[in-house]
Amino acid sequence: MAIYSTNEFKSGLKIMLDNDPCAIIENEFVKPGKGQAFNRVKIRNLKTGRVIERTFKSGESLEGADVVDVEMQYLYNDGEFRHFMVPDTFEQYQCEEKLVGEASKWLKDQDNCTITLWNDAPLSVTPINFVELAIVETDPGVRGDTSGGGGKPAKLETGAVVRVPLFVQQGEVIKVDTRTGEYISRVKE
């Protein structure tokens, strides 16, 4: 794997730190006029998702991490693993539930998502930004309410619960932003 020096630490670069794959978020060059130059770097640990700050002496280097994002289709859940497939090559990957994490509540069979692979093994799952899911459970709507004010909880087919406006009914399909978990609109079938 390539070696990267502090001046190549651009946002998004994947490197190995303390034996974990990490992504550079921010890199600030700090140098007193007459003193040692440092790089203060914000780094996300791609295994834990935690963000840390670490200082390096300018010119230090780190090994790159073999981390790639691959578009895959979600196939099914066998109870132990979630299974995904690369549409072009039909190559399949299985992913432990704990790696899927928060993404699991947005995963519907056949939907696309992004799998981050580290040394060809799944590291994390990111759902697409907008998903369309059916409401399986919500209180009956109040007649005449067309505003978005207030709202009510609605359970979706994947198990996620989102707040929806009062006029949205059970059985309807809605569009949700997976990054915020917010209702966007109804989807006409």
């Binding site: 600030e28 140098k31 007193p32 006029g33 007459k34 003193g35 040692q36 200082t55």
Partner: protein, 326 residues
């Protein structure tokens, strides 16, 4: 879309720069300080262990020489002082290789001035007057603050900056979630001071005010004189506004032997750290031998000062063309 040929600053900022230069010239003209110009290209360069240089080929038939782009006009200006120029100032470009970031561009503009017969305290008074004058209409600054390095360091960290304690310094780093400091700094006092100062002290200096830190530890004296009452500190001052380092000044070293010794020490450190070799400025030593008048001097980064005056977050916002568009 911002196009690459376009300047990275606004036309408004170009005007501010012109106005700033004009105000500086008025300020010094009123005080009978002479504006001078010295070469940007020279046969010698500073030996500062922390600076890297640009070099270029000079075709002087029949041979080729290596010339350095100056990291500061300091040596040439001191030669003028030794030749009897009296107090002088200069607005010029300086070049430092490898320095690029939110507060750094490898080519930048310095205001450097020397006051013959001034003590460091007198120079600090003048710095304050100049900064207050230049800020008028852009930034309302509170009363100028002055702290000794030891005072601000102890007050902020509880550590003594003048005597090195690996145990105390490491404990501080660990308590602040920075175990990497121990690997980076090891047993080097100066490195520890740089690390702690730039992470825990500098960002909080001079909130809406000019803050002057003086009496730097002797191990960070650079070209300043060692204080004649306390050999642990040097007569060096740094100035900050809103956590941004703006300038560095000294009660200047006039002892040729001492200067020569510091050059040799710095060259040895550069060698040890595999930094590119530099050429010691023999002309400066000769000038000091002949006699540099007692003086105090400072260099202020004008691009940084403009960042402060305009509230810019990056140096690119005050430069016409930063290096990647140059």
């Amino acid at each position: 879309m911002i196009k690459e040929w376009h300047p990275s600053c606004t036309i408004e900022v170009l005007r501010l720069r012109a106005q700033l230069f004009n105000s500086i010239r008025c300020f010094f003209s009123a005080r009978a300080v002479l504006e001078v110009e010295t070469p940007l290209l020279g046969y010698a360069c500073g030996t500062d262990p922390q600076l890297d240089f640009f070099t270029t080929d000079y075709i002087a038939h029949p041979q080729r020489d290596t010339l350095f782009l100056q990291t500061s006009p300091e040596f040439a200006m001191k030669r003028l002082l030794a030749a009897g120029s009296g107090s002088i100032y200069q607005i010029c470009k300086a070049f430092r290789n490898g320095e690029s970031g939110r507060f750094h561009n490898p080519e930048f503009t310095l205001l450097e001035w020397y006051r013959v017969g001034f003590t460091l305290t007198e120079l600090m008074d003048e710095i304050s007057e100049l900064i207050q004058t230049l800020s008028l209409g852009y930034l309302s600054l509170n009363t100028t603050q002055r702290f000794t390095y030891q005072d601000i360091f102890e007050r902020t960290t509880g550590l003594n900056p003048l005597t090195f304690s690996y145990v105390d310094y490491s404990a501080f780093a660990l308590a602040n979630g920075q175990p990497e400091a121990m690997a980076i700094c090891g047993y080097e006092h100066g490195l520890w001071l740089d690390f702690i100062f730039s992470h825990h002290i500098q960002p909080y200096l001079g909130e809406s005010a000019l803050c002057m830190i003086y009496g730097y530890p002797a191990c960070q004296s650079s070209l300043a004189r060692i204080n004649n009452l306390n050999p642990l500190i040097s007569d060096r001052v740094e100035i900050f506004i809103n956590g941004i380092e703006l300038g560095n000044g000294y009660y200047e070293l006039t002892d040729a032997q001492e200067q020569n010794k510091r050059f040799d020490e710095e060259i040895a450190i550069r060698l040890e750290n595999n930094r590119p070799a530099t050429v010691k400025d023999k002309n400066l030593i000769a000038a000091l031998e002949c006699g540099l008048p007692e003086c105090a001097g400072i260099a202020i980064g004008l691009d940084r000062l403009m960042m402060v005056l305009t509230g810019s977050l990056t140096i690119d916002e005050v430069l016409s063309f930063p290096v990647r568009r140059a």
